[in-house]
């Protein structure tokens, strides 16, 4: 192997000379401890290297070995249920090998090389194949059929294809190219993480990615293949929301990237996911999940890589025709890793010390999301939806990472500290958040959920907006100055906030709400509001109606008892009618007479 010589060590940055022949983004092994690094700058025969492991104890003069391969991930059966660090080293395997603390210079294969998988071919000898074609399948977990594809850039005739139990490195097929060259295929392939995997065609999202979270699905939906961000100060609920999405989003594959955050949060996922049931299949959620954990105390450069490792794995499953959801918590830590390395490279700093290319890196990352027509046959569609948490200093949204992210993502879930302090969770501020997918999802929602879903949502949002203005008035002149209809708006808004938007992730039922149930709940609240508007009653009496308690408890009704919520609608109508009947205002009398007449 060719090698260079270290001339500088500064934290995660190492500079080496005599590096002729190496290329940008190639992987190198630093010192005889063989720490993994990547070339991020070249100047003559000098290379700047970001090292994915702790560099303590490394000194000038030590060797740097050039591998000639770009930073890549291994793709093949065995990815699901894994937990990797930022450069795809399996953390479970590392623990077995070196113990509870991560030491360095460990080289382990990302995918278990000894495990055998049952490969069932879907193509036969003599078939003409090209890139992206599915040539066979492996049942990787109960939930995931792993589809083995012809790697990008390859085309030819199948000369041989096998059936049976194989390891990922065994040869399963041979393809003869037009020029007569024979290529052996294994189930395992490699792909450079910094290059997006090719697709046939990109398509706009048209279907929502339901998440079981009411404020999201109803008010600020994300499309399948869409992008969203969750900025907010610490403690506002970014991580809980990301976990909720990883648990309940209607995706076939979930890639969860813990990027520079807490170790215990990954442990939490590791403990919970094998126990939680996927609401559609009833199987453990872990059976569709890949975890990437590069926590805050792990090497900072590997944190930078973790995002790319994650998205490449996501694209790979997308190419099989799956809907994949990727959560990254937190993209700010990734940006900070960029900043730290850039600072050590002594690059010209931009805003807040971030490198000038921050914006383009953020955009490139989110551009890898999308709904696509996959390469190859059979014809299929896949999607990668990306949700990034952002952790701005002091919760200040003018932060460059937030601003650069908002420029590219289509959904903004804005977390507000005040809501979190009042323990209103999810603390998504309904007045400032937005989703640009509303219109493109319209058709789908009308057809698949309910014709009046959108009008209900609009009406509810208007009430919430009016509440904001009315509260301003209350602060100036007191509650007594408001009219009945204004106070009714305040009541309806409170119901929307407390009985619909508020959702407790830690309550066994409340944690997930199907879109059907969301619709029924919203409908009942709006029904109450509309009916109450028609009668004449003291607001205090209205507030004391027992039916309000029933409405408040809808969220705790199990999915299988949806009928109860549907039936509640009739009770709401009846209760309000009766309540309206006991007042003493002439207006109410007139109405009552009309109703009697109607009945006759």
């Amino acid at each position: 192997m060719k090698k260079g010589r270290i001339i500088r060590v500064s934290g995660p940055l190492v500079v080496a000379e005599e590096m002729k022949g190496s290329r940008m983004y190639d992987v190198v092994k630093v010192s005889d401890e063989r720490l993994m690094g990547e070339i991020i700058g070249l100047d003559g025969d000098k290379a700047s290297i970001q090292v994915y492991e702790e560099t303590e104890g490394i000194g000038v003069g030590e060797p740097v070995y050039i591998t000639g391969e770009p930073l890549s991930v291994s793709l093949g059966p065995g990815l699901i249920e894994s937990i990797y660090d930022g450069v795809q080293r399996p953390l479970d395997y590392i623990q077995k090998k070196v113990g509870d603390f991560i030491s360095r210079g460990i080289s382990v294969p990302p995918i278990d090389p000894d495990k055998k998988w049952k490969f069932t071919p879907t193509k036969k000898k003599g078939d003409q194949v090209q890139e992206g074609d599915i040539i066979g399948t492996v049942q990787e977990t109960v939930l995931v059929e792993h589809r083995i594809m012809v790697p990008p850039g390859m085309k030819g005739v199948i000369e041989d294809i096998k059936e049976g139990e194989f390891t990922v490195n065994d040869q399963i097929a041979v393809i003869e190219r037009e020029n007569g060259e024979k290529i052996e295929l294994q189930m395992q392939q490699r792909w450079g993480v910094r290059i997006p995997r090719p697709v046939n065609k990109r398509l706009p999202p048209i279907k929502p990615l339901f998440t079981g979270q009411r404020v999201i699905d109803t008010f600020f939906p994300i499309g399948r293949g869409g992008t969203a961000c969750i900025p907010g100060p610490f403690g506002s609920g970014k991580t809980v929301m990301q976990h909720q999405l990883a648990k309940w989003a209607e995706a076939e594959i979930v890639v969860y990237v813990g990027c520079g955050e807490r170790g215990n949060e990954m442990t939490d996922v590791l403990n919970e996911f094998p126990k939680l049931e996927d609401p559609t299949s009833g199987e453990p959620l872990m059976k569709r999940t890949i975890l990437i954990a590069n926590t805050s105390n792990m090497p900072v450069a590997a944190r930078e890589a973790s995002i790319y490792t994650g998205i490449t794995l996501a694209e790979y499953f997308r190419d099989m025709g799956y809907s994949v959801a990727l959560m990254a918590d937190s993209t700010s830590r990734w940006a900070e890793a960029l900043r730290e390395i850039s600072g050590r490279l002594e690059e010209m700093p931009g805003e807040e010390g971030y490198p000038a290319y921050l914006g383009s890196r953020v955009a490139q990352f989110y551009e890898r999301a999308g709904r696509v027509k996959c390469l190859g046959s059979p014809e299929r569609e896949g999607a990668v939806s990306v949700v990034g948490a952002v952790s701005p200093p002091g919760g200040d949204l003018s932060d460059p990472v937030v601003q650069n992210t908002l420029r590219v993502v289509k959904v903004f879930w804005s977390l507000k500290a005040e809501l979190a302090y009042a323990r209103h969770f999810p603390a998504i501020d309904w007045l400032t958040s937005y989703s640009l997918y509303h219109d493109s999802m319209l058709e789908y929602m009308k057809k698949e959920v309910a014709g009046d879903f959108l009008s209900l949502e609009r009406e509810a949002m208007r009430i919430l907006e009016e509440e904001d203005e009315l509260q301003e008035m209350v602060r100036l002149v007191g509650i007594d100055a408001l009219s009945f209809s204004e106070r009714l708006i305040l009541l309806a808004a409170r119901m929307l906030r407390e009985d619909f938007l508020h959702q407790n992730s830690f309550h066994e039922v409340d944690t997930y709400t199907s879109i059907k149930k969301q619709y029924c709940m919203l409908k009942n609240i709006m029904l109450f509001y509309r009916k109450a508007r028609e009668i004449d009653i003291d607001i205090e009496r209205l507030e004391e109606l027992d039916i309000l308690e029933d409405i408040a408890r809808m969220k705790f009704i199990e999915e299988k008892k949806l009928q109860y919520i549907e039936d509640l609608g009739n009770r709401i109508i009846k209760t309000i009618k009766e309540a309206g009947g006991k007042g003493e205002s002439p207006e109410r009398d007139r109405k009552e007479k009309e109703e009697v007449t109607d009945a006759n």
Binding site: R8, G11, T55, F101, M266, S296, R553
Partner: protein, 462 residues
């Protein structure tokens, strides 16, 4: 390999540059010998060709360029460890400063530690009863958690930290425990307060103290929490003890870090703190936790004073992004006579959910704190409104909430320095106050708990 040079070329703040070196490793420990034979310790921050940049922990004052010798020790900075460290007092670099015999080390450990493999962690879920309602009831602490105090100068954070150290216990457990106490830049008086408190409660032989006081070298504060956490890791994971680590004041640590960063002429981040402050703090805080298959644990309670009481200042801000919650002290509550003056609304314990509930504390605990938070927050809103418009402008319900929040502050949050409430007492107190409100208002509470506990509250009132 040990090498010696007399080639100091430059001194800048706490940094020293040595030329013509070879074979020097990044992060290596070194000793600087002054002309008068005084010995100081340093650490290599960067090696570039034949130059090494050294950070001197005791400061560079008095170092003479031509006359000083730098010895590179060929190893990292290590802390000697043995069970005998219990009951002992060390300086900020791990050197014993009491008059007791030297420690015979059973092992030596690199003070930087290594990251715990996230796969090896055990999720903290054992409730620690601190006897303090605003913690136990609303922000429960669990073993292996890192829960900081965000305070301000002059606020009683040290008293509360000492109270936690005194009262903390895990229900139904008699395991070995220890306290590691690290002081960074606090006054002699403050450190002495802790020492006396440990002495009086007879805890001293279970305590390891690391003292870097206000008049000790500032850069030494960078190693103080590291040696303390190294000791804690040893006690927890080699010696199977449950260790409570109190480090105070993290603000002084961060200032030392800023000083070094400025001397290196790095591009400053917010308020002059280096861009890697988050990563640096994380490498300390994340050393807390539990490990699967190991008995011991490290529970970390860093104390920091928020400059200008500003929670968005980088030190509390980045801390809050790493720790598993925060207990926030409020000057306005202090003025109001609420003691301890804990502002519970922005306070948080992120690990509470798995540490409480049936068989741990009580089934209604989670609903109860949610309800108390919601009610207190509404009461505070009503209070604000009544300041503007007068109490008469409040609705009857708002008035009830106002009464609730006043009593909540004076009866629930307030408690004596030596008052040790059981978690049941804390929970019952919560119900007692909630029963001021009509049942209908308790939207965060499951019916079964209302049936079971609400009346109880009312009866107690009568």
């Amino acid at each position: 390999m040990r090498t010696e040079y007399q080639t100091v070329s430059d001194i800048s703040g706490p940094l020293l540059f040595v030329e013509g070196v070879s074979g020097i490793k990044y992060g290596e420990l070194c000793s600087v010998i002054l002309p008068d034979k005084e010995k100081r310790f340093g650490k290599v921050l960067e090696v570039h060709k034949d130059k090494a940049m050294v950070q001197v922990f005791e400061g560079t004052r008095g170092i003479d360029i031509p006359e000083s010798t730098v010895i590179f020790e060929g190893k990292m900075m290590e802390m000697p460890l043995s069970p005998d460290i219990l009951g002992r007092v060390f300086d900020g670099m791990g050197k014993a400063i009491d008059e007791k015999p030297p420690i015979l080390p059973e092992k030596r450990a690199d003070i930087n530690g290594s990251p715990i493999n996230p796969y090896a962690r055990a999720y903290p879920n054992e409730f620690i009863q601190t006897g303090i309602s605003s913690i136990d009831g609303l922000n429960p602490l669990v073993r292996g958690q890192k829960l900081p105090f965000f305070s301000g100068s002059g606020l009683p954070h040290n008293k509360l930290a000492a109270q936690v150290a005194r009262q903390a216990k895990v229900l139904a457990s008699k395991e070995k425990f220890a306290v590691v106490f690290a002081a960074m830049g606090i006054t002699f008086e403050e450190a002495n307060f802790f020492q006396t408190d440990f002495e009086e409660t007879g805890a001293l032989e279970r305590v390891v103290m690391f003292l870097n006081l206000a008049d000790d070298p500032a850069i030494e504060r960078l190693s103080t929490p590291k040696v303390a956490l190294t000791a804690a890791e040893y006690l927890a994971f080699d010696r199977e003890m449950h260790v409570l680590v109190i480090v105070t004041d993290m603000t002084n640590y961060c200032e030392a870090l800023r000083e070094v960063s400025a001397a290196r002429k790095e591009v400053p981040g917010r308020r002059g703190y280096p861009g890697y402050l988050y990563t640096d703090l994380a490498s300390l805080y994340e050393r807390a936790g539990r490990i699967r298959g190991k008995k011991g644990s490290i529970t970390l309670m860093p104390v920091l004073s928020m400059p200008e009481d500003d929670k968005t200042h980088p030190i509390p801000d980045l801390t809050g992004y790493i720790t598993e919650g925060q207990i926030i002290f409020s000057r306005s509550l202090e003025r109001k006579g609420v003691s301890p003056p804990i502002d519970v609304l922005p306070s948080l314990s992120r690990l509470k959910d798995k540490g409480i509930g049936k068989n741990k504390t009580r089934e209604d605990h989670a609903d109860l704190y949610n309800q108390l938070y919601a009610a207190y927050s509404r009461g505070k809103e009503a209070a604000e409104l009544s300041v503007i418009l007068g109490e008469a402008a409040l609705s009857d319900m708002d008035k009830l909430y106002l009464e609730f929040s006043d009593r909540f502050e004076s009866e629930y949050i307030s408690q004596g320095e030596y008052e040790n409430r059981t978690v049941e007492q804390t929970l019952d107190l919560g119900w007692n106050l909630l029963s001021l409100l009509p049942k209908r208002e308790l939207k965060r509470m499951r019916d079964e708990f209302i049936d079971k506990y609400y009346l109880k509250g009312e009866e107690e009132k009568e």
